[in-house]
Symmetry: C2
Subunit: 224 residues, 2 copies
């Protein structure tokens, strides 16, 4: 045993250890309980020592959220895209039920960590393989959003964030190298910024009409 749990858990303060403590604390007492001082206490260290390993409190909360998203289990997706999406959604849900504070926090922040990006990549791949065009997959990601998946922010998201000097496409591709489907989408949606830069009004109405259609179909089938 080269690296026992004990040695990994004890001594050297690390970003990972801080984030793990934050998740556990939030699980026990809610996100509100997360504070530098409290976390220090939990880790047997003075609060200020934590600043050596994280930028600030927001960094801790974002990191804790991404750690939670990272817990979502991911077997090889089924061939049937609906079955694959359903399995992913249920897996996401069971994780969020273990960390009930997480969905609300995800919805508040617009930070997208690597785990979240990984899940978005997974969703896009399932959809693309299922025959969705880039555009259709894009809209689908929005509809599935935080409500169904618990790991995408969105509601009334002001997509104005992604303005400013835009990096050239190839740079975008390089940054998103581990996430090819996300990169593909980012480039495709480039007319108004990489990812998140999209027509909010359209996405909203797309989701709205999808839901209204679905409800109407169920209403009809129930009253038959």
């Amino acid at each position: 045993m080269v690296d026992s749990v004990e040695t990994r858990e004890r001594r050297p303060l690390s970003r990972e250890r801080v984030l793990r403590a934050a998740v556990e604390l939030a699980d026990r007492e809610g996100v509100e309980a997360i504070s530098l001082r409290r976390l220090g206490q939990e880790l047997g260290v003075e609060a200020m020592a934590i600043y050596r390993h994280v930028r600030d409190k927001d960094d801790i909360v974002d990191g804790a959220v991404d750690a939670v998203v990272g817990e979502i289990e991911v077997g090889e997706p089924s061939e049937d895209w609906q079955a694959a999406m359903r399995a992913l959604a249920m897996a996401a849900r069971s994780v969020m039920l273990r960390h009930r504070w997480a969905p609300a926090v995800i919805v508040t922040r617009q930070n997208v960590g690597p785990a979240m990006l990984g899940q978005i990549e997974r969703v896009l791949q399932i959809l693309r393989r299922g025959g969705f065009t880039i555009d259709a997959a894009h809209h689908a990601v929005h509809v599935l959003g935080s409500r169904i998946l618990g790991f995408t922010q969105d509601p009334f998201n002001d997509s104005a964030q992604a303005s400013g000097p835009q990096p050239p496409p190839d740079e975008v591709v390089r940054a998103f190298a581990p996430y090819p489907a996300v990169a593909e989408l980012a480039v495709a949606a480039r007319h108004d910024g990489a990812l998140g830069g999209c027509d909010d009004d359209f996405e909203f109405e797309f989701g709205l009409d999808l839901v209204l259609d679905g409800l109407d179909r169920r209403r009809a089938s129930a009253s038959d």
Copy 2:
């Protein structure tokens, strides 16, 4: 002019005045900016004076949210339930775009103020008049949820809240007198608590399948 804007706006501190200041402050600087001290400053009063008119900070935030929800304009709903729901959703959206901090806050808190209750009542009436059964309307409210309407909390909501000694049905009806459709639903759903007491797993899968079906239909129509 019996009650000019000046006299209404100035002098006597009131709950309404506090909430209005809170909404304005959040609009300008985000929810984070809402604090007793800051609000006092804004109102030209010492922070502690505010406690005469609100219970605590949570009361202020909940009140501010309900005030925002109250801004949603509500003409006489169209005969066609889909058109009526669409109009309501768009009205809700435009309000939430004026108060971008609100949706995230709504999602966090499980408090349901009178304005929110009024909107739920409206939704239920539209659906019932559109031919939905109580059950179907119930599921519809969940699906429309915070994502579409911006004024219903829900995501991964632990419905365990409504346990404990249950008031008799007629008392529920009395409390919900101004909201007959909500009352109807509350009584109908009483097997596990008035409103919010419902099978979360079922609601989740209902919404999930509705969205997946809708996406599949659109994917198909796009690739034809």
